[in-house]
């Protein structure tokens, strides 16, 4: 059985906790980086990791690393501040990678 993790600001993750997901509070990208490294480590039982967009800005390199492995899936979600459009950027970059140009 796999688990789902949510990394985000304290306010963002509170509700997810009630939903039954594993939540990790991080206010700065560095903290998120540390958490990400920890939970993707040895046991590797997180299949999906949701990260709020405002933290993901500083984590591009780390997130990029997991793109090609089937597990875990790292998915950006908008934080409380609303969508920053980074999640959509991931879509564009995938298209660019596959087609060679941005056709959307």
């Amino acid at each position: 059985m796999y688990k789902i993790a949510v990394i985000g600001g304290r306010d963002t993750i509170m509700c997810f906790k009630a939903l039954g997901l594993d939540v990790f509070a991080a206010d700065k990208p560095e903290e998120a980086k540390k958490i990400l490294r920890e939970i993707t480590g040895a046991e590797n039982s997180y299949a999906i990791i949701y990260i709020s967009e405002n933290l993901a800005v500083g984590l591009k390199k780390e997130i990029e690393k997991y793109k090609d492995s089937p597990m875990p899936a790292i998915i950006l979600i908008p934080g409380r501040e609303g969508s920053l459009g980074i999640g959509k950027e991931a879509l564009q970059s995938a298209v660019e990678r596959a087609v060679g140009i941005d056709i959307l």
């Binding site: 059985m1 796999y2 688990k3 789902i4 306010d11 963002t12 509170m14 509700c15 997810f16 906790k17 009630a18 939903l19 039954g20 997901l21 299949a47 999906i48 949701y50 793109k67 090609d68 089937p70 597990m71 899936a73 998915i75 979600i77 908008p78 409380r80 609303g82 969508s83 999640g87 959509k88 991931a90 879509l91 995938a94 298209v95 990678r97 596959a98 087609v99 060679g100 959307l104």
Partner: protein
Amino acid sequence: MATITPTRMVLNQMKGRLKTAVRGHKLLKDKRDELMRQFMEVVQENKRLRYKVEDGLSEAFAAQAVASAVMSPDMLEQALVYSKQRIELDVKYKNVMSVNVPQYSFTTNEEEGANIHPYSFAQTSGELDDAMTALQDVFSDMLELAQIEKTMQLLAQEIEKTRRRVNALEYVMIPELQGNIKYISMKLEENENSTKVRLMKVKEMVLEDAHHYKEKAAANG
């Protein structure tokens, strides 16, 4: 080009390799086209889901903001943190054109008293209930989004790889093999011609030796 030896054996080898390369090129091209078709479908789906999730989440967050305005932060945290509900995820893999894409399905454990409202209704506001319901609604979409986004990334990777292989075959391997084959067959033809000329020359000399045409011609002339 200089390193290949122009013999019939190497020529045959090259021809075999060319045949394989052309066939592989065709197959990989078909694979790329099919991957691309599926990829575009996934991209459209991903786009739709992302909008849906982002809208749903901002709705849930807005409801939560209202709830936190009504309740004290401590109460809110207390209400939410002691959740009994656990969500467990089951991952299966589906093979799409030799790419293993994940399929997620989740189960919530049905312990006693475990639901999305882990608090007593007496001390919390109704807005919190709304927020939790909204969040639960959006969660299944979030899961689907995770699945489709991962699928998209894996497909993109595979397409990139396949595209490179197709291009390498089309623009490097196949032209090189064709060039080699042409070189060898020309060289062989040249060798054949020179052998022929040499044989003709030898024959002329042998006949001259036997019949002395030139002397006779001189005597008659």
